[in-house]
């Protein structure tokens, strides 16, 4: 038991060493690992994840607000966006190769399709959950429909929307590990090319991706808390 635990710890120590110090590749000839390379891959990983999540927000939030406000068409929209999630991202990438080639655009699009459904669904549900009395009061005060959306429905749906973004962002960060299969060198390269980086590199890659996902999760959890309008926060616990 102790031996097993020690072996476990030494695996982690080796992975940490891989992150901070360069070493010769398992296959020889080149230096791999080390902080500079790790930061390069991390930056690429964060960049593609942020762009994909950002685009998904830009598409899903307006659509979700519109559908939620109108209260119809959600079955169609949610069914369509769920198709993006049902098809594995790797298959999407292979499919897009014919039209977009491989590279940043291709991977981003595949990740956007992965990120859309939770944001769309949460936006729609968030808007539908707004107390009808509040909307009626707004209308009574003479707000136009677009003002109802912007000044009542959107603020009150924000916690739910951020919950959706949080789910999507974590999915995207985890899935961006396949990007090296389509020309973008993210942290996934450590996991996919273990023959080059060795088992230490693979474990280091897995640890870094997990850390990144946890960081993203915590960031959006904080955002979600901040997004709760003060009036609601008094009524119920945040989140």
């Amino acid at each position: 038991m102790t031996d097993l635990r020690l072996a476990f710890l030494s695996d982690f120590a080796d992975a940490l060493d891989f992150i901070f110090n360069t070493r010769e590749a398992q296959t020889g000839g080149v230096e791999v690992g080390g902080l500079a390379e790790v930061l390069d891959f991390t930056w690429e990983h964060v960049k593609i994840s942020a762009v994909a999540t950002g685009i998904a927000c830009g598409v899903a939030i307006p659509v979700g607000l519109g559908l939620g406000h109108a209260g119809k068409g959600e079955l169609l929209a949610i069914s369509i966006s769920n198709v993006g999630r049902a098809v594995p991202s790797l298959a999407l990438i292979a499919f897009f190769v014919a039209y977009l080639g491989v590279g940043f655009t291709n991977v981003t699009l595949a990740l956007v399709l992965l990120a859309l459904p939770p944001i769309l669904t949460n936006t729609y549900v968030g808007v539908r959950q707004v107390d009808r009395d509040v909307i009626d009061a707004g209308r009574g005060m003479g707000l136009r429909p677009d003002q109802v959306v912007r000044r009542i429905e959107l603020p009150l749906a924000l916690p739910s929307i951020f919950g959706g973004i949080r789910t999507s962002a974590v999915n995207v960060v985890a899935t961006a590990t396949i990007a090296p299969l389509a020309g973008v060198l993210t942290l996934g390269d450590y996991i996919l090319s273990a023959n080059v980086y060795g088992q230490d590199g693979r474990l280091a890659g897995a640890m870094l991706v997990a850390l990144l996902a946890i960081a993203v999760e915590l960031f959006f959890a904080a955002m979600q808390r901040l997004a709760v309008p003060r009036g609601l926060a008094l009524q119920q616990p945040a989140g």
Binding site: T27, G28, A94, V97, G103, L181, N195, V196
Partner: protein, 324 residues
Amino acid sequence: MKRGHFVALMAALTMLACGALLAACGDDDSGSGDSGSGNAQLIEANPDNAGKEITVGSKNFTEQFILGEIYAQALDAAGYDVKKDLNLGSEQIALRALKGGDVDAYPEYTSTALTSFFDVQPQDIPKDAEQAVDEAQSQFADEGLVAYQPTPFTSANAVGILKEKADELGVQTVSDLEGKSQDLTLYGSPECRQRLDCLVGLQEDYGLRFQKFTPIDIGLRYDVLDKGQADLSIIFTTDAQLSTRDDVVTLEDDRQVFPPGNVTFVARQQAAEEAGPDLQQTVETVQEGLTERVMQELNARVDVDREEPRAVARAYLRESGYIE
């Protein structure tokens, strides 16, 4: 051999074959009683092997699936109690599974074994297949593993290019790319980027600089050529496409960056001893027909015709007369 023994043996053989190949028995006429005797190569079930369990592994791509199936089905015909674990992933995972006892044996390329497991530089790999195997065998032996005789076919990486493009550029060898490569895009597996027997070797040994190297899923290695994204793509010499298409050619590796790899069946010493002599004999017999041409054809049946590796392996064994 006494007549009674012979009948008993045949009955045992038929039962074993049917029992282990239940699914296969349903869709063919192997129950008709045609013994197929007279074929010297036919693998006969040895009653001594009954109850001896062998788990055959393989890595996770077409050629490996087919090889794993061929060995597994042949050993099954020899009377062993065969289990399969044919999707182990990369060689590092396969080696771990082998040493850890999850599998008893799996097919590995001698070149891969020497470079990935035993830190041999690609240029130091013996060009002669027998020598490469000898070296791999002695290295494996230190690890408590035995490597059997190699397959006739050799599988290596190669620089693939559309024939039209090759004619346009006037290139036949990798060296011919000199002075042209800076305008060409090269695609290969993510691993290729940092391997001496891939991009690094092309850069250092040939002194080539490419416009861009793009890592891709190896499943897309022909797609990127077809779609015009890649001028050059790293492919394998046993690829099905090379036997079925004449618009793709490989550039001759005139400075030997890509080491040739024959396949050797690697088993754990202990498992091999427990299995007895039939293991080695069966393995080395069934692979005799596996030339480069045959391997390309078998790969083509899976990759192009979308047949199951299991069925393709069975057809090979049957057509070669190893099983009925």
